[in-house]
């Protein structure tokens, strides 16, 4: 691999991105503008995450890429191959073996360690955007800590659905200061945002980077009488029997039969390897 600089981006660009990352870590939850580059993939395919990963990768790193928890989707595979090609780093599907994990829409079930980095792909970084279209105004709201509008969104949820219906991209307040969009992860994952690993968020099209340093307080917004709940399907994984993991629902035949399985494919495979068996697997065996 001599055609490309290590991890595709030139060193100047990586330095610029690292500065944005360091600033983001210094001000947890604050959206740092950066000069997002054109990447050899379309917007919406994780160009922000890829640039952040490119800036933090070292030749010794082991990379894992997941999309909705799975290592084997087109998006995950293409990004993994991209870095195999341009950085020559080792890749893995095992959460515990990875030193850098790029993710779209999930946090792995297995708790991360302080020697790991989790990089999120972010479509729309501004949590206030849907209610306040003006960027000038939202920046002012952040700088003056005027976050009443965020609760207006939750109020609307309750008034329309009888409960907070926001199920993903559930807004959080970081270290008691900035309100942040945790990217479209399910709210089931919100409690995991307080973790040992470094969490970096990259939005390519919107040109923003933000971060949560290890062991930072992350509180999901709610009302006193409608407290935050980290919900998941009320079911166990049909493959591995796990009752504590976030599940995908699958329609399996024309009659509408369905099954539930871990969205985190590595977690599920590991449990099955350990001998755990879910309802479906037990049926098949019988």
């Amino acid at each position: 691999m001599t055609e490309y600089n290590f991890a595709y981006l030139d060193e100047q660009t990586k330095r610029m991105i690292r500065r944005a990352i360091l600033k983001g870590l210094a001000i947890p939850g604050y959206q740092v503008p950066f000069a997002s580059r054109e990447m050899p993939m379309p917007y919406g395919w994780g160009t922000g995450g890829v640039q952040v990963s490119a800036a933090v990768l070292t030749p010794d790193d082991t990379l894992k890429v997941i999309d909705q928890g799975a290592d084997d989707t087109t998006n995950a595979i293409s990004i993994r191959r991209f870095f195999e090609k341009t950085a020559g780093v080792a890749v893995t599907e095992a959460t515990s073996d990875a030193s850098v994990i790029q993710t779209r829409h999930r946090i792995p079930e297995e708790p991360l360690r302080d020697d790991q980095i989790l990089v999120y792909q972010v479509p729309i970084p501004e949590p206030l955007r849907f209610l306040e279209p003006s960027e000038v105004e939202t920046r002012k709201m952040h700088s003056l800590e005027e976050y009443g509008l965020m609760h207006v969104k939750l109020y609307e949820d309750i008034s329309q659905h009888g409960a907070i219906a926001t199920a993903y991209a559930y807004p959080v307040k970081v270290e008691g200061r900035y309100v942040m969009d945790p990217s479209p992860i399910p709210k089931f994952d919100n409690p995991k945002l307080e973790m040992a690993a470094i969490q970096l968020f990259g939005a390519g099209r919107e040109q923003r980077i933000y971060a949560i340093p290890p062991y930072t307080q992350v509180v999901s917004l709610d009302f006193d009488d409608y407290p935050f709940e980290a919900t998941k399907a009320d079911h166990a994984c049909d493959l591995c029997g796990a009752e504590d993991s976030y599940l995908d629902e699958l329609i399996v035949d024309d009659a509408g039969a369905r099954m539930f399985m871990c969205s985190d494919t590595d977690y599920c495979a590991k449990r099955r390897a350990q001998g755990h068996v879910g309802a479906q697997a037990a049926e098949d065996a019988a």
Binding site: L131, G148, L149, H151, V152, S159, Q160, D224, D225, Y226
Partner: protein, 256 residues
């Protein structure tokens, strides 16, 4: 008694052109002051300077804050001023869509100011919104409808509810009845008059409609070409105008 608002020598220029200049007055708790004048007389510029939407080039606007007494809102920090504008101040725009969030339900619109000052109990917010919709005569079963589905008069009443829910002490109004049908205007005027008295509100109302100020305002300020040409009791200024321009203004109104 301390004035609620003490305005001293306010001036605002747009390049060479005068927006308004040399404006001074005191407003006391419970007083309603009307500002009248034709388009371009500087009345809206003045209102925006007073409400902190424009920075005047000269002068001070001192407000009797709850915590520290009289403070100049022109020189205070922006966070403080913005805090005032969603607690003790209210601003009613001529066009309701400028003062409402059109993509948020009526209840959410009323609740926003409460949430902005820290309300975090859905039930309480809902109850306050219900109460306020009733007070501005909007049927409570419309609480989850968006203002886009409301008539102009209803939108204006919703805007008033949204502004008054935090119990402000000073309300700025820019042509609050402009663009509404005459019958709808009367209902709105009546509502405003009742609220002003019940809440002991002070208000500054900019309008070109002399009938509006006669019904709502205790005092009147007449502006022309950026200058205040006459002030006084509303009925005195309208019935015994002293200045040439005021006389012209009053005599130009068609009698019905």
């Amino acid at each position: 008694m301390t004035p609620l608002l003490q305005v001293t020598d306010i001036a605002k220029f747009y390049g060479q052109r005068i927006g308004c200049t040399g404006v001074s007055f005191d407003l006391y708790p419970g007083e309603v002051m009307g500002i009248v004048g034709e388009s371009g007389s500087g009345k809206s510029t003045l209102l925006n300077c007073l409400a902190g939407h424009l920075t005047p080039d000269r002068g001070s606007v001192c407000f009797d804050t709850r915590a520290d007494g009289l403070r100049d809102t022109v020189s205070m920090s922006e966070p403080e001023r913005r805090m005032l504008s969603r607690t003790d101040w209210a601003f009613v725009h001529q066009h309701a869509r400028d003062g409402l969030r059109m993509n948020v339900s009526a209840g959410g619109n009323v609740g926003e100011r409460l949430m902005a000052v820290g309300a975090r109990h859905y039930g309480d917010i809902r109850e306050a919104a219900t109460d306020w919709l009733g007070r501005v005569e909007i049927s409570v079963d419309r609480i989850d409808d968006r203002p886009t589905a409301f008539s102009g008069g209803m939108q204006q009443r919703l805007q008033i509810a949204r502004n008054l829910v935090t119990g402000p002490r000073l309300v700025f109004m820019d042509e609050p009845t402009g663009g509404l049908d005459v019958s709808v205007q009367a209902r709105l005027l009546d509502l405003l008059r009742g609220l002003v008295r019940e809440m002991n509100l002070s208000a500054i109302i900019v309008t070109h409609d002399l009938a509006v100020v006669r019904l709502l305002a205790d005092r009147l300020m007449v502006m022309k070409d950026g200058h205040v040409v006459e002030t006084g009791l509303t009925d005195q200024v309208l019935d015994d105008p002293q200045h040439r321009y005021t006389q012209l203004l009053v005599s130009s109104v068609l009698q019905v």
